[in-house]
Symmetry: C2
């Protein structure tokens, strides 16, 4: 059909990753990732699965038996929680204060649930009083969904308080911890969270495409009492549970992404070795250096109140008259640094600067502040030159 051909070599650039994720990856994790694969039914792999479950329980601060990584990105983790917990007609209250709360509402709607939303301005945390009022008016609500750390706005909500309210009204909670896990304090058991999902490419600093999930026994009880089968075979926790269960009862479901699991295990070992409290403290301290430096450059944080501001994701107002996209492009192309744009109503108005996991290092903060100073000083000149 054809001769043996040589394709052009594509060289990927090396970037300093300070956007909304993926974050940078420790070389130890990349090394684990690149180990030759072994079979997903190999006893050595099954042993690794057990280790991963234990390490995830530590990261989530939970004893939940059903704690495992979904073989897909964070939004597959979100889908796994809602698809299993909701049946058509179930009433669910969803808090929308950014992109991911909105996504929760979309998923629940597609599943045929009766969705009640409580809305908050982007950049604000979820208002506990609004949740209370919504549950008061909707006593037949079964599930409450909210985002712990909104990646689109940099706002942290009080998951403990919100879950406490949900519990008082007899509701289960679905909680998005994609950006909070290992970056902000999170205690799944102490706070009584029920179906919690995360992503690997934020503060765990692992490869994207794998989503840690933990499910409480209370949530499992509702799942086990479903009147209708889960509509997606791939997301059915009843089947996935068999695949991730103890060795002797394991049943085949799909082929786990073995190399990603190698990497996840190593990234979780690094989290375990540093210790969660130290990791949270590191995110706080280094983000404070960033905020101070940005202030020196005359840049303001969108979320003013430091108590609700994510340390791992700083959302910065774009100064008037600055072409925000041009700044990002210059940072990426001339300085090799990635920061993220605003999403939805914040598009064009903010930058999102991530300091997540392995990216959260003083040298990255210094590099970005230096680069930003150069770019912001240069920009008008560069624009008029090129125009």
């Amino acid at each position: 059909m054809e001769n043996v051909i040589e394709l052009p070599v594509r060289t990927l650039p090396v970037r300093t990753l300070m956007g909304s994720g993926p974050s940078e990856i420790d070389p130890r994790v990349l090394q684990a990732l690149a180990q030759p694969p072994i079979g997903h039914l190999d006893p050595a792999f099954v042993g690794l699965m057990d280790e991963v479950k234990d390490l995830l329980r530590y990261a989530f601060q939970t004893e939940n038996r059903l704690t495992f990584p979904v073989s897909g990105p964070g939004s597959a983790g979100m889908e796994t929680c809602f698809t299993n917990l909701l049946e058509a007609g179930d009433k669910v209250v969803i808090a929308r204060n950014g992109v991911f709360g909105q996504r929760m509402a979309e998923m629940a709607t597609r599943l045929g649930a009766e969705v009640v939303t409580i809305d908050e301005e982007w950049g604000q945390p979820v208002d506990p009083q609004k949740l209370e009022a919504a549950l008061e008016s909707n006593p037949d609500t079964k599930v409450v969904g909210f985002v712990h750390a909104e990646t689109s706005t940099g706002a942290l909500s009080d998951a403990r308080l919100l879950a406490g309210i949900a519990q008082r009204y007899g509701c289960l909670t679905v909680v998005d911890t994609v950006t909070s896990l290992s970056g902000s304090p999170l205690y799944v058991d102490d706070w009584g969270l029920d179906a919690v999902y995360s992503g690997a490419q934020k503060c765990l600093s692992c490869v994207p495409g794998i989503a840690p999930v933990t499910i409480s026994d209370r949530a499992l009880e509702k799942i086990n009492q479903r009147q209708t089968p889960v509509s997606t075979w791939f997301h059915d926790i009843g089947l996935i549970e068999g695949y991730w269960s103890e060795s002797s009862q394991r049943s085949y479901h799909h082929t786990a992404p073995v190399n990603s699991i190698f990497a996840l295990a190593e990234s979780l070992r690094l989290v375990r070795q540093e210790g969660l409290e130290r990791a949270w403290e590191r995110h706080r301290e280094i983000s404070q250096t960033l905020v101070t430096g940005l202030d020196r450059l005359g840049l303001e944080m969108m979320v003013d109140d430091a108590s609700i501001r994510l340390p791992q994701l700083s959302v910065v107002n774009v100064p008037q008259g600055i072409d925000e996209a041009a700044v990002r492009t210059r940072l990426l192309q001339d300085e090799g640094i990635e920061i993220s744009a605003g999403l939805g109503p914040l598009a064009g108005k903010v930058w999102r600067i991530g300091l997540m996991g392995h990216s959260c290092r003083s040298e990255n903060v210094e590099r970005l502040l230096d680069a930003l100073e150069r770019v912001l000083t240069d920009l008008p000149v560069a624009s008029s030159c090129s125009g």
Copy 2:
């Protein structure tokens, strides 16, 4: 909370992978996998996505615009095809001649489709006459689903013939090419296949957890005319299409598994460089060496007829009186070679020996034949010693 701790080092074994997948991975692909990640919205990554789409079109032998990898394992690819193509009440004919045809029927049932099955003994290809008869009796059928290369039985079905029949009855086809892609001749456009999914960890010899999919314009038309939204947000092709579309119109959906895409691109470049016909020929030749060697050891192939036998997956009858699990364990633990067990009704009765992609090398065949000879000769002695 705790002191910095050192966790025990877990050393993974090195295996010769000759099971049903994952297959071994070329060192070039592992090197690509372990490159430091870049952002999923980085122009350099978007360029790589375009290259991956082109290389996938080559592998599938299609011009389909909508050709992309699903961010999940092969069964997420299966789910993507059925979830988008079927609406509740749609009639679908599904051929079951192994595990994966059965899985298709389960998915379609969960989606509320009216499922008509045609059944074949495991190890047999799908019978075109049965398909014709089923469509004759069910003229309102909209979709036909079948597996090209059944990983559970090693049987190859005539996808061209089956798709031709489906077309004559005005039906779209969903075709599982998880094990066939790049191992057996496959011409998506020439054969008129509509929604085709595969896996990366078989003959592409990439990491598991990413599922190439290609969708014909005919299938897209049905999807675009849906009366009801797709029930899973994560699998909605309307949304995924925006993420994988040409650069200028890209819209955010989820975070692509960037490292897996680095690896997929490299594995597809290797396929492109070797050329599909050469790859198919290599699988045929080397599997013939295996079959000859197994015959010399007195082992018989379950699928007798070579014309319907997969070269990339040989299913071998376990001789009477042999403890099949003990043989696999000895091969794995003493010889470092993985082969697979039988599934479903074939459990305990067969071994499945894979020669897929990078695993399909003469040295692997020799290593396995030598090892099998040792193990089969030794086994009774070993058993009586240990007993």
